[in-house]
């Protein structure tokens, strides 16, 4: 049997030791009527060769396209070293590091990760990861409610420019605890959240304000003004940031006069493959004063009995296995392996590599926008700087255009129709450092043909 090493002789001697005669006897405490004989509905086993062929065929069937999709998941160069090391059995097949002395590899990696993420975000402390960017946003909202002792409203302001999926996840997660999320309108000309839109909350009890930078449209919000308004009104600021962008953009820890209070984000751009959406990881950072409100694992450095440095899980009194119903969150298993990959990625890239990556993404997106908007029927939706995404408006419905592009091996971007119908035929496009000028030209030329064909038809 696959993966079961027992020989017939082993089984016989083990049963004898136990004092039963058949394997089935080991289940004699289970009510007989509940026991099943076989699992109809599960196919017969495949051997490794057979599954290998099946999976290879399925992976090949999905093909490879030239992709200009972003929207929260970004195609970046991943150094070969990242996954060569991350998949080493000692990282891959270890558990959460409960036995610190036998888990120093994982623990030290987390400590280094916490340090890097704190430095990248400009915040004081980081945890060891959340499930993904969206769930990190939801947890940040819950945390803000705990941390903002001056607020009783459990009321979170969320700009419409925050990733629509993140907003949905926040609601699905936190509404059960009575949190209310209120949408702040964005300026449809600029694609950003006007600080003025906050004026109507003056004097009200607001717990926290979420700010995504760059926002879902790729546009840059006026984070200083928004942050300062919040702090002036006892509102905590939850920053949602793209880690790549932080090599160039002002980190949340420096937003406004005091900096954001909690900063979270999707860690996928840091060395994690697209992989149909996961596993990714969320990161979460905060000020030291709120560390005890933070969910998730945290690693600290300490000393052993001989006075040598070592690493261990700490502040566990926040967590479910100690505090149970009163824990900061129910999170237990997190995204350790992805955190490991990201730590290796950040080590290899350093500040300089990350800055070049960010700058190249930015440059490529500008080139892409410039190239595409030269075509008749294509124009930019917003004016003002973007990071590595931008919204384009077409003179015809986006879906058939995207379909025609996909048939020619190009993913032309995300149709925003379902999310922002008010924008019309809008397309969110993205170009990272993986795109060459030739790729951009291929997109432009194919789009030109597609639009011409559509017009002719």
């Amino acid at each position: 049997m696959a993966f079961i090493p027992h020989t017939a002789a082993d089984v016989a001697s083990m049963l004898a030791t136990i004092g039963v005669s058949r394997l089935e006897d080991l289940f004699d405490e289970i009510p007989r009527e509940l026991r099943i004989k076989s699992l109809a509905g599960v196919p017969e086993e495949l051997n490794e060769m057979e599954i290998g062929r099946l999976m290879s065929e399925r992976a090949a069937a999905d093909g490879t396209a030239l992709s200009f999709l972003g929207a929260g998941a970004y195609e970046h160069h991943i150094p070969a070293a990242v996954w060569a090391i991350t998949t080493r059995g000692e990282f891959y097949s270890a558990y959460t590091p409960y036995q610190a002395e036998a888990s120093q590899g994982t623990l030290q990696t987390i400590y280094e990760f916490q340090t890097m993420i704190a430095r990248l975000t400009g915040m004081e402390v980081s945890n060891a990861s959340m499930y993904d960017g969206a769930s990190a946003v939801a947890e940040a909202a819950l945390m803000a409610v705990r941390a903002n002792r001056k607020s009783r409203a459990a009321r979170i302001l969320v700009p419409g420019t925050v990733h629509p999926h993140y907003r949905r996840v926040a609601v699905a997660t936190a509404a059960n605890q009575g949190l209310r999320f209120e949408e702040l309108p964005y300026c449809t000309e600029a694609g950003v959240t006007p600080a003025a839109s906050l004026a109507r909350y003056e004097g009200e009890d607001v717990t926290a304000l979420l700010i995504q930078q760059p926002n879902f449209f790729g546009r840059l919000e006026d984070v200083d003004a928004l942050t300062d308004w919040a702090h002036a009104h006892n509102v905590l600021v939850i920053a949602v940031v793209n880690p790549t962008s932080l090599a160039l953009l002002k980190p949340p820890g420096q937003w406004g006069a005091r900096g954001a209070d909690i900063a979270v984000g999707e860690g996928q751009p840091l060395g994690v493959p697209l992989s149909s959406g996961g596993p990714y990881f969320g990161f979460m950072t905060t000020r030291m004063e709120y560390v005890r409100q933070m969910p998730g694992r945290i690693v600290g450095r300490t000393l052993d009995v001989a006075g040598h440095e070592g690493f261990t899980l700490t502040l566990q009194a926040r967590e479910q296995h100690i505090r149970r119903a009163k824990a900061t969150s129910n999170i237990c298993t997190n995204q350790g392996l992805l955190m490991t990959a990201a730590t290796i990625y950040m080590s290899l890239m350093g500040a300089q590599g990350l800055a070049r990556t960010a700058a190249t993404c930015h440059a490529r997106t500008r080139e892409l926008v410039a190239a595409l908007t030269r075509l008749p029927g294509v124009r930019p939706a917003f004016s003002g700087p973007c990071f590595h995404e931008a919204v384009l408006l077409l003179d015809r419905p986006a879906a058939p255009v995207l379909k025609a592009l996909a048939a020619r091996g190009i993913f032309g971007g995300l149709d925003l129709g379902a999310y922002y119908p008010e924008l019309g035929a809008a397309l969110l496009v993205c170009a990272t450092e993986t795109k060459t000028q030739a790729d951009i030209e291929r997109y432009r030329a194919t789009l030109q043909e597609t639009l011409q064909a559509a017009r002719a038809a």
Binding site: H6, D10, R301
Partner: protein
Amino acid sequence: MSAREKVIFEYSHPGRGASDQWPHDPGPAALADLPAALRRAQPPQLPEVGELETVRHFTRLSQLNFSIDTHFYPLGSCTMKYNPKACNQYAMLPGFLGRHPLAPESHGQGFLACMYELQEMLKAVTGMEGVALSPMAGAHGEFAGVAMIRAYHRARGDLKRNEIIVPEAAHGTNPATATMCGCVVREIPVDAQGDVELQALRQAVGPNTAGIMLTNPSTLGVFERRIQEVARIVHEAGGLLYYDGANLNAILGKVRPGDMGFDVIHMNLHKTFSTPHGGGGPGAGAVGVASRLLPFLPLPVVGKEGERYRWLAEADLPQSIGRLSAFMGNAGVLLRAYIYMRLLGRDGMRAVGEYATLNANYLLKRLMTAGFDAAYPQRRASHEFIVTLKRQARELNVTAMDFAKRLLDHGFHAPTTYFPLLVPECLLIEPTETESKDTLDAFVAAMSQIQKEAEQEPGRVTSAPHTMPVRRLDDVRAARQLDLTWKPTAQP
């Protein structure tokens, strides 16, 4: 084990870097349109290290870990079984890794076929009517499950049901989840045999009961024998039954939660279906539901129309509890679980339950014969069991923690210690079906040897471990003198 390793920042030198990994510098002109006020003044202080240094550092760090690939790891409740290399290799085919989550369905039929079939297989093994794959860990699945229970009651206008009953031995995520879902937790006791006290349960249920969360076999390592009675009591009171699937390995192919009367379950694919734990994740906490909860499943779910697969979204499931992840949850983990399940097949699944149970009962029996005390000596072990060292603690002043640490010196990862909380000085031991009799025998020998040492030279045990990269660590200091990020001057 290898020696300690410096913190990576200690290798850093200004100007060093794995420049080969960097794009060409696009020059400052590329950023001309970014307003200075939005730009970062100082670069983030990431380490500046070369590629070889990085590779060497993390390779060495990895060697400081115990893992399934290197050690027996009988961590109770965690199901540390072999993670087949095939699952990793085929889930990491470039075609799967490169696929964007928002890629059109036309370019994802291969992936979606795997997901759809995984849903179907999970339904078959659990006896549930519908499965959603997106929750990203067990606790996340619990959240989805309790949220569905709440949504169910709410949809029926039954608005005051906000109590979740949990047995006192429950895993911490169960009560924590109830709280996350805005519920109130009611704990009920278990009896001396490890079964839920039915009388207490009867008293606990009522018009406020949203549901009960149970694992079966329970965290005490025994099968809840009166599960049908429990189900009847809860259902009659109008509550639903939640099954914490962390222990599903014990009964795989033998009994199904759906048949026991559970309405909603989560599965820890990273336990039962052998996706890797990765030093703390990623997991995958797929949820399964009975038919009455089908409308509430979290999004997305994969549907099939004719020969085409497609995502089901808000329009298909308007009563869904919604999205719990930005995209499809831990898709790559789901692929690994899919591969594992196809490798096992129908018969392999049953073998998992049988041999996991065989190994646990064998190990329990041998440890008892060697003089160790079982927490529930009259009961069959499920896939795991509890040994209590309260006698050793009392008579020799050697605790469960001491045994655990000394096991490391013997080349065995320690079992789970001090969980469940209600058994004093406990070791929760889960060998899993992928370990051989030889390994179990060697573990018994090590335990016996430590027992002898505890009697004759207890200091060796209470000061263990002796052969790890660090000696026993000061957790109190860690929590009091917080050192959570590396600072150039940090001298502890």
